[in-house]
Amino acid sequence: MRYEAPETLDAAVALLTAATGDARVLAGGTDLLVQLKTDMIDPGLVVDLKRIAEMRQIKKLPDGFHIGAAVSGAELKEHPELKKHWPGVVEAANLIGSTQIQGRATLGGNLCNASPAADSVPALIAAGARVSIHGPKGRRELAVEDVVLAPRKTALAKGEFVVSFQVPLRAKGMGDAYLRFIPRTEMDIAVVGVGVGLTTDANGVITAARIGLGAVAARPLYVKAAGDALVGSKLEAAALDKMVAAVRAACSPIDDKRGTIEFRIKVAGVIARRAAITAYERART
């Protein structure tokens, strides 16, 4: 195994493109090192992206926050402004693993590891986040919900990697939340995760809503119908019921020791309702 730590995006792309065998990018390493040690993977090349400045920065620009894909969860939490704008995104990222894991784990890794249960992904979907991808053909963008195609499979082509996430600046009347169900209070993988992002007008009427689901399908889902069910409402019971029905209709979970199909579908609705209420409270304050 060869290790390289390039300092520019183009150098990283050149290394990945020239690789003949399996090549992996390394950000926080909290998934990659486990996969290496358990012989799940045996790459000929590992490209450490953490020496590339753009991947390690959080920038606030007029069009939104640009969050480097290799910024750690601990750094997200300590950023003075990000949590005020997108508390749901930061809280979701901070649910991943322990303090030690937070010291290394990244948004880019959480997304590109391509687990259906990744906590930050439904929250990023709810926030309307887009990713900036660099590769042999230059830069392109994708919505977060279009990156993961199936467990362990992404839409990234050979030589491509996620450089940064872009979320808009929070305008007045916007709020987000992420909640998950796990059988204990800490240190577990989501059985169900739901992110909700809402925009309200001056009267408290919801004008836009985005809902992301995790761990209830082969990949994280953007459920447009669920968000649309809330638009025009002030989160009254009828709108919430309609949203919950749309969430449950979108679920196609697996049956495993962590939860049955029936349980996951039921809980997805419960969690979505609670996350919507929290997001609405945040939007109104």
């Binding site: 290790y3 390493g29 486990v34 590992v46 303090t99 030690q100 894991i101 010291g103």
Partner: protein, 158 residues
């Protein structure tokens, strides 16, 4: 296997080694530098026994390649005591009987020190959440949490 020249500091001491690509920071500390205070537990980032700080940030040394340490400042359990004088956390762990077999203890101490550097006056809840990634299979957590709270109080007074 290619070897990399890696230089970093450990507990303030400049260190240079030749590191195999697939060696973890934990391997480097224990096998190359013979700093065996840092323990290997699960090797998959679940147990916290291998906790160290990298540029002040608490991490599992089993989940980091040795080559990634190039240019970094590493803190290990060996850096806690000042010569023969124990760190207040170490002293309080003794007084509160916060260890039995001891294999988790260096990880708990390094993690607790990182907490108190950020938050000198944590609540019990904050201590418990911060240490949720450190597993102990004999003492249980109550004595450990009490020792950390007591050490924090003493360090605030000192």
């Amino acid at each position: 296997m290619a070897k990399h020249h890696v230089s970093f500091t450990v507990n303030g001491d400049p260190t240079e080694i030749l590191c195999e690509t697939n060696a973890t920071l934990l391997d480097v500390l224990r096998d190359e530098l013979e700093l065996t205070g840092t323990k290997e537990g699960c090797s998959t980032g679940d147990c916290g026994a291998c906790s160290v700080t990298v540029d002040g940030r608490l991490v599992c040394s089993c989940l980091m390649l040795g080559v990634e340490a190039n240019g970094k400042s590493i803190g290990t359990i060996e850096g806690l005591a000042n010569g023969d004088k124990l760190h207040p956390l170490q002293q309080k762990f003794l007084e509160h009987h916060a260890l039995q077999c001891g294999i988790c203890t260096p990880g708990f101490l390094v993690a607790s020190k990182a907490l108190l550097e950020k938050n000198p006056d944590p609540t019990e809840t904050e201590v418990r959440y911060w240490l949720a990634g450190n597993l102990c299979r004999c003492t249980g957590y109550d004595k450990i949490v009490r020792a950390v709270m007591d050490a924090a109080a003493e360090m605030r007074g000192a």
